[in-house]
Symmetry: C2
């Protein structure tokens, strides 16, 4: 099963550690990768991205594949995650959105009324042709990766909906949460749209060779558990069911989700990602000891002196042993100014444990 | 004890309901007020603030008093909170900070190195003279309020420190949390500085007539409970102890604090504020059934049709009955575009329950 890809200079023989852990078993080697590992922390990323706007880079198959593979070459992590952005499926589906450096996604017009939601539902479409740059990028990344598994990437229905309603980044997602309560019918239709786009985006990646899928609900921590279960869980479940039917395991992750961990599992995730706020032994307790976990090194510690970071990584790994399986990761994305050698060092440490 | 201030058009006879609840008893009338009730939701606020920059308004005693009292006049809430801003004590202490409309506080230079922290510790000072505009504003507000109690306002040491380190608003407070771990000595010194400023700011308000104090740790939800207890709790405890020694009850509040509720209580708060994410019966359970609670109407619901909002308010009040006492409030500040009549209506509803 393992393919040793000597030419690429990394050890693809570890290709199954991640998938074993995702399936609830404890592989010999503790798997590790980093959210946003393909990013500005790497000089080779900054060089390759120079002159390419974010959305253009996401839709350039060769460039997206190259950026996807870079951190595997450098850090010997146990997985790649497809280089993309939360709003890519929206852009491909015809939504007017651009990504402004230093700001994030900015939409031509927010979607706040029932009529605007209905218009979106009438027009937003993803088909094979629109998804072709994604399919090509994933195929090329999988080819370059050899045996190292690729994880598909997508934003979850709530976060996509919240971006559409807010029209850009926001703190409390108040406009989105208002729509949820002021017009639950419009909200439900919006979640239908975003779950359809999210599922299509992941299925295209799986069909092209992704061997797992991570559903990022970046903003879901702004919800109470009751609101999540009433207004969001069904839509996330549709996406996660679609992933399961495609035959690969799913990871569900958001930040500030201490209140939501059981609800995220109940949406149908095979693996639950945990941010830095809740220790993994406590997360495992909340999940009844039955769910593989991913996480949860505090990104703030990546800048700390090595003995401080090492003690933290060891603590995370120790607490993760309470769970059925553990894929080591950060509790959030790699900060752009992270020293990449520190990440490599963390991988070496984790693989030694 | 009650003073009926007929001229002002509000019922000051309710002056003790808030303080009774803060002391753990259940008053006859369920007390209610709203965080950021003195704000842009009120046309009289927008009229009075016109032409005054935020920091100028905070330091103009007559204007600050007028803005403080406006929501009591209009809504018949059971408390006023002194109109101010998180960064006011920093500005008074000599820190170079301005408040930009639509952005928030922006600092001349972030405080990120040990030398910068030491320089701040050497220069930041609050004395009676610097605090004179606050003392005068509180005195005037108390005079205008008659029997309605005034709550003193201050940002907590962590949030003040995080603003100083970040140099402005931020999402994850990564720079602040980095300093905490990369140089715990510098961090501790910074927390000494901010706790001294926060305590002096509150003591001045109490000396001028505030009958309670609320310590806002707006950003503390970015911390794990372990980090809070190791690096923050001691500084908050110094402020809360200072409030207690001044003879008034304290409320401690932050958003996203589901993981931190017992730690906030253990810092020495008499009352714990709860945001919209955790139901009050669950918050009460986490606090061992021994702490008066404040909160936690979801601000997103203020825009919902009245039957939806009413059902939510009734649910919040019902769940609050699990606690020893409950002061009804929002789970966060009043959104600026809130219809003020809705707030008045919520007060009437709460007072009828």
């Amino acid at each position: 099963m393992a393919i040793l890809d000597v030419d690429k200079g990394y050890d693809a023989a570890s290709n199954s550690a991640l998938l074993e852990a995702f399936s609830g078993r404890r592989p010999e080697r503790l798997p590790v990768w980093f959210m946003r590992q393909a990013g500005r922390s790497l000089p080779e990323y900054r060089a390759a991205r120079a002159g390419h706007a974010m959305l253009d880079a996401c839709l350039d198959p060769d460039l997206a594949a190259e950026l996807t593979v870079q951190p595997v070459r450098r850090h010997q992590v146990d997985a790649a995650i497809f280089f993309s952005d939360i709003v890519v499926p929206l852009a491909l589906a015809g939504v007017d959105v651009r990504i402004e450096p230093g700001v994030g996604p900015v939409f031509g017009a927010p979607v706040r009324t029932r009529a605007q939601v209905a218009a979106l539902a009438d027009t937003a479409r993803l088909d094979d042709q629109r998804l072709a740059p994604i399919t090509a990028g994933v195929s090329e990344a999988v080819r370059l990766l050899g045996g190292t598994p690729l994880i598909g990437f997508a934003g979850a229905p709530f976060t996509l909906a919240a971006y559409l309603v807010e029209g850009g980044p926001s703190r409390d997602h108040l406009a989105a949460r208002r729509l949820m309560h002021t017009d639950p019918t419009a909200w439900a239709l919006l979640m239908d749209v975003t779950s359809t786009l999210s599922a299509a985006f992941l299925r295209a990646q799986i069909a092209a060779g992704a061997r797992a899928a991570q559903l990022f609900d970046s903003w879901v921590g702004s919800l109470s558990a009751a609101d999540y279960r009433a207004h969001v869980q069904g839509a996330s479940a549709r996406v996660l069911t679609s992933v399961r039917e495609a035959g690969v395991p799913s990871v569900h992750f958001g930040t500030g989700t201490g209140e939501l961990l059981p609800a995220l599992r109940d949406a149908g995730a095979d693996v639950v990602g945990v941010d830095h706020r809740v220790p993994l032994d406590e997360a495992n307790r909340r999940l009844g000891g039955a769910v593989p976990l991913q996480g949860n090194i505090d990104p703030a510690l990546l800048a700390a002196p090595w003995p401080v970071l090492e003690a933290h990584v060891r603590d995370v790994v120790d607490r993760g042993r309470a769970a059925p399986a553990h894929v080591v990761n950060l509790g959030h994305g790699v900060p752009p100014d992270t020293d990449p050698d520190v990440l490599t060092h963390v991988v070496e440490l984790v693989h030694s444990l």
